[in-house]
Amino acid sequence: MKRVLLAGATLLAAGLMAGSAQAQGTIKIGVVLPYSGQFADAAKQVDEGIKLYMKKHGDTVAGKKIEIIRKDSGGIAPPVAKRLAEELIVRDKVDILAGWLLTPNSIAGCGVSAEAKKVMVIMNAATSIIVDKSPYCTRTSFTLPMVTTTLGSWAAKNGIKKAYTMVSDFAPGHDAEQGFINGFKAGGGEIVGSVRMAVANPDFSAYVQRAKDINPEAIFVFIPGGAQPAALGKAFAERGIDPKKVKILGTGEVTDDSALKNMGDSALGIITAWPYDHNLKNKMNQDFVAAYKKEFGGDNPNFFSAGGYDGMTLIYEGLKKTKGDADADKLIAAMKGTKWTSPRGPMMIDPETRDVVETIYIRRVEKVGGKLVNVDFNKVENVKDPIHEAMKKK
Amino acid sequence: MSAPAHIAPSKDAIANRAIALATRGLSMSFGSLVVARDIDLNLPVGARYALIGPNGAGKTTLINMMTGMLAPNSGQIFLGDEAITHLEPQDRVRRGLARTFQINTLFAGLNPLEAVTLAVIERRGIAGTFWQNIAMHREAIEEAHGILVKLRLGDCCYQPTRELPYGRQRLLEIALALATKPKVLLLDEPAAGVPQDESGDIFEVVASLSDDLTLLFIEHDMHVVFRFASHIIVLVGGAVFAQGTPAEIAADTGVREVYLGKRKHG
């Protein structure tokens, strides 16, 4: 046992030395993501967004060298995420915390950000309340209610009167459901039924059959990305629910590239709201997509990559304003109100809430050049998080 | 075969002694195989009974029923005056009915001192004590050690059970049962598998047990049976075929024909 401890000790000591050898002109960014486990793929894409930005814009900003230190939180594990954040600060002496894919981990990270006074940039986690947990926390992804409330009011405005909702039975699902219902009802729509589906759920046939029995005009769905969207899409096709007749509304995970590949033509006609797609027709995005594909072996970037890319944009822009000073109070002040143009369009950090303000696109799955793509046909600009907006009014 | 046994129990021998263990109409079958047929037995206090019979006669099954490891289909079991038919095995042990096993059923990773101490503390009702070191319970430990010394296991009582010679393990079987302070002890072939020259040692130990202890043992070696038993019960096909003193059994032609004549067991 002793020997093992000693061996461990030498290893650890080596790590310590590396940590303390810090150059003066360096700004360290600690990235916490679930690089292994169930969410590994998403983490990889956020990480690629970060890498691509640094490749394009270099690793120095405002005279400081940017160094990234990556930590694996391995799935939903707030104690681990919190410990990693603490270690990044006390051992690696990072100046900024970034990454953050999962809500519970992000909330744990916020505790560290607030206590250590370090800016924390959320590049994906989409629960509204996270940014309230630390005065130094900001976000470059989106919030679920931004997307689903927008979709709900769009649906009500565009002739859909009655809708059925299907969401995964966990907190993000509940947020998505509530957001959609709020937007839809505010526009005069009526909810004819709702179901919350088990989170660990390989087979959707029973839920889809239930929806089909009600035969609604439209079905709103929210499920986590990964294996489930394809399974759900197939279940729709199998049950003979044709998106061209019954409108299927969802968030972007449902028609993510890998999901579309698995669903095949059965996905045609699904309508989703989302802040980003590789198919967006602006010059900046086309360059971004081309560079991404070149760099990472042919796959298209998605909203994870965009979150990572824009997170780095925000950090660079903030540091430019503070002239390389990463002091949390100065940096977060500089980030507030920052506007920039991203592959997904114009972006801003709301000076009041530190949350992101952006365009939400309404897209439909269509076949373009033999491939299934999300074609945007409508958009709502300057969308703010509706939960924070409601809180402001109170 | 519900006919009365060939020889009635010699009533005068047991009439004036209390009954330690009795069964009434004990019957059991596995499907169509009848393993116990209407067994009535009376074991007087302090008796030394041998239970004999050909393989498959239901001897071990009878012990299993008496100790509660098998449930009879019908019939009753009495320990002294108390009906114990529906008690859990451990509750029968606590009332004074102990057994040993034909195939060693020991605590391989414990040493004899630990194993016998375990049985002693269970009997004393202190086995649930988790806040005191076991060494605090000196009386229990010395009692266990005393049993081991008595059974000639004193010199190997710190050696893990799995490393003990086979004959010693058979003695440990008995030591574990004795540690429960039984009134009635059922020994299932105590010398099974022990070379013949050593099996005498085991029965010497058995014979030296207190006179108050009622014994029932299964044994195939007729020399041993006739030497140590005060009474013999012959079980055939799950039923009591005969019972009586060794002399009576030896003289019985029925037993000779059915059992002794046909099978000589070594």
């Binding site: 046992m1 002793k2 401890l5 461990g8 000790a9 290893l11 650890l12 690089y35 292994s36 990556r70 930590k71 694996d72 799935g75 939903i76 594990a77 707030p78 104690p79 919190k82 410990r83 603490e86 270690e87 006390v90 051992r91 809500t103 519970p104 909330i107 744990a108 206590e115 250590a116 309340i129 966990f170 907190a171 993000p172 989170v199 | 100790t67 451990q90 042990v93 102990a98 020991l106 605590f107 990773g109 001192l113 101490t117 375990l118 049985a119 269970e122 202190i126 086995a127 649930g128 004590t129 988790f130 005191q132 070191n133 076991i134 060494a135 000196r138 430990i141 010395e142 710190y158 429960t180």
Partner: protein, 329 residues
């Protein structure tokens, strides 16, 4: 070992079995070294201590009574949620929260022990697994209480003893978890060397013989299961208090499986098995994932395979066998 001790009476012999070995003292002294040598690793050390505590609780039932559970996270989670909710709704004083959490986990452990004591082998494993998963699903459904999958919000832990804040460096956290671990370890050690501990070893060594010596194994199992659940609850409460976070992950199957792996890795049925296993597993994981965040699974897998092949019965089991052989030569 027994022969070399040459005790004069059986009582002294049994006493000698529970004597402190110099290696044990060295082990506990070594647990203090992070304070001096690795001050930036205290958060990790604290979480190792919690994992060790959890593994110790599993060892009580698995290693000493032979009850394999794949749902032990249920009690870890109950401890964590109770401690978190206590801090949210009553007050944030950690020691009282720890006691309440322990009692709650032990209470649920006692209730479920009536089911657990009836089964053995695969059936038992699957029933513990099933009960654990049911509880995890229930916690997800009861979002009004638990915060669902976002985790419990509003956990607020006061400074320890009113003096020591749970800080970024993890100094207080490690001091707290290590003290709790040590106290619980002392109690577990006493339990193992008690009459009850002997009865548990009896159950592990021979389930069939126990009733024949008058032992009611089921009541022993109910008791140890309750104790083990309480200890798991302590572990859960400590992680909740030291990190101020509680989430569904505390109840997850992964946590149950991880603790089993840690215990078996270290060596089940040995007091230090869970401690050593937890330390090696967590340090290895931390180091491997530092090298390759995406592929540390590979190296952990290789580590497990190598240990099974080279050191059967866990690291401690294998080492003691090798040591015995080496001494015998």
């Amino acid at each position: 070992m027994p022969a070399s001790a040459a005790p004069s009476t059986p009582q002294q012999y049994l006493q000698s079995l529970s004597r402190w070995h110099p290696i044990e003292i060295a082990f506990w002294l070594a647990t203090l070294t992070p304070f001096l040598l690795f001050p930036t690793y205290l958060s990790l050390a604290s979480q190792i201590a919690v994992a060790a505590l959890f593994a110790l609780s599993l060892d009580l039932i698995l290693g000493y009574a032979g009850i394999v559970s794949l749902g032990h996270a249920a009690f870890f989670g109950i401890g964590a949620y109770t401690a978190g909710l206590f801090s949210k709704f009553v007050w944030g004083e950690p020691l009282s929260g720890l006691l309440v959490a322990t009692a709650m986990a032990a209470l649920v452990g006692y209730a479920s022990s009536f089911i657990v004591a009836r089964f053995r082998h695969l059936t038992l494993i699957m029933i513990t697994l099933g009960l654990g998963l049911l509880l995890a699903e229930a916690a997800n459904s009861a979002g009004w209480l638990t915060g669902g999958s976002d985790g419990l919000q509003g956990v607020d832990i006061w400074p320890l003893l009113g003096l020591f804040k749970f800080d970024l460096y993890g100094t207080t956290a490690y001091a707290y978890s290590l003290s709790v671990l040590f106290v619980v370890f002392l109690m577990a050690r006493r339990l193992i060397n008690s009459p009850f501990g002997l009865a548990l070893r009896g159950i592990r060594e021979n389930w069939v013989r126990m009733p024949a010596i008058g032992a009611d194994s089921r009541s022993h199992i109910r008791k140890v299961y309750t104790i083990s659940a309480g200890v798991a609850g302590i572990a859960g409460a400590v992680i909740a208090q030291t990190t101020s976070t509680v989430s569904l992950e505390a109840l997850s199957f992964e946590r149950s499986a991880d603790v089993l792996v840690m215990l078996v890795l270290g060596g089940a049925g040995r007091l230090y098995g869970g401690l050593v296993g937890a330390a090696i597993f967590m340090i290895a994981r931390d180091q491997f994932s530092g090298i390759a965040p995406q592929f540390w699974y590979f190296w952990i897998g290789i580590l497990l395979i190598a240990v099974v092949m080279l050191l059967p019965n866990g690291i401690l089991g294998g080492l003691s066998k090798i040591l015995a052989r080496w001494r015998g030569r």
